[in-house]
Symmetry: C2
């Protein structure tokens, strides 16, 4: 399940760490220490990294693959908070209190994660202030993201919300292809609904209408944006 750094499968080189949101610009001297305290964990697509309510024992940084962070209500309704790609942090609660994870994280592709125990990452932050500063920076950025989403959910109609969601995904996981920009995450209509605050039916109807106008072309769990500018004008006007 987990193995110590130095395993045959992945060499955790300093360049990788320096490219992550948490260890960016950390003094070279600290990198070895960070690396020594790390473990690795592989998760297959669909597998759970941690559940909502689990005690926050480890912090993860995505090395390869992609994760999804969700929030679930008592009665099972779910929303997607965010997707996490290489270099991003999962399990931020581990950085602060000795609390529990407020949401779940699962892998949507096979992924390799680098992890630290709560005690280890706290010690590293206390010793190397630049790590703590990075944590402040990325938490601030995520807080801001959520503020924007709240504003959208509160003030915009569904079509615009879906447009914003798709554009955000393009930004985050867009891959240029012949037909346009493809979102490189398998995305069901349900998934889009859970990101836009609507139902899969409404998402389906909206995408169908867009497909009619050649703005997007989509398949099963796949969306390709052909006319990003038109989508932007739907989102902004």
């Amino acid at each position: 399940m987990r193995r110590k750094t130095g395993g045959m499968d992945f060499h955790l080189n300093p360049e990788f760490l320096q490219g992550t949101e948490l260890f960016r610009d950390v003094p070279a001297a600290a990198l070895h220490e960070i690396q020594a305290a790390s473990s690795q964990r592989r998760v297959a697509a669909g597998q759970v990294v941690f559940r909502q309510g689990d005690s926050a024992a480890a912090l993860y940084v995505v090395a390869t693959g992609r994760l999804r962070a969700t929030q679930t209500t008592a009665d099972g309704q779910q929303v997607i908070i965010r997707y996490l790609g290489p270099g991003e942090v999962a399990g931020y609660t581990t950085l602060s209190g000795g609390g529990v994870h407020p949401g779940a994280v699962i892998a949507v592709e096979d992924a390799l994660l680098i992890s630290w125990t709560s005690a280890a990452i706290k010690r590293l932050m206390a010793e190397h202030s630049s790590i703590a500063m990075n944590a402040v920076a990325f938490l601030g950025a995520r807080y801001h993201e959520m503020q924007v989403r709240i504003r959208e959910l509160s003030t915009e109609k569904v079509e615009r919300r879906i447009a914003h969601t798709v554009l955000r995904l393009v930004e985050q996981a867009g891959r240029r292809t012949a037909r346009g920009i493809e979102i490189a995450i398998p995305l069901s209509r349900q998934d889009l609904a859970e990101m836009s605050g609507t139902t899969l039916h409404t998402v389906s109807r909206t995408l169908s209408a867009w497909e009619e106008q050649k703005i997007v072309s989509c398949g099963r769990r796949r969306v390709v944006v052909a006319k990003a500018d038109v989508l932007t004008s739907i989102a902004e006007v």
Copy 2:
């Protein structure tokens, strides 16, 4: 407008700092340095602390009074992100990048703020890791708050959302009175709407219905919760 610590109006004592979310548990030795770097600023009710888009030059900690943080769209639609009371931080962006404030903050009551320049607070964080740890903790907590609100906005119907909003305000600014728990912030129907993702009309109708059932009693910009348990069951069921 601003004046250095040591002015006659407010003595910034160490006990106050130790009770704030940012300077909790900071070593006593650091308090003097924190204090020396601080300024004070008084704002009258209704006055702007900073605007959305202003460059993030200062960080504020509320000493007395209450502030409101908002997000506004290009076309002037507004949502209320949060109210800020004594001990809480306004202007978190100042902690990280050299960016701009992503939202506005105004005073809803006369308030006294303690402030630090961006450079000063960054230096303090770098030197005293416990400040940085506190920043990580409170940003994590706010990020979590926003996640919960997004889940509510995405999955719940208006009445439940309004109930949640009112209960949160009770938690944050409730004051026990003869008639029940009064929310000690002047709150218009419009304000409640901007916190719940709905319109003032719907808020008005909902409060009227609740008043009918003696769950709340309200006046102009005032809400008193008589039966918090019933409100909780509306929010949770």
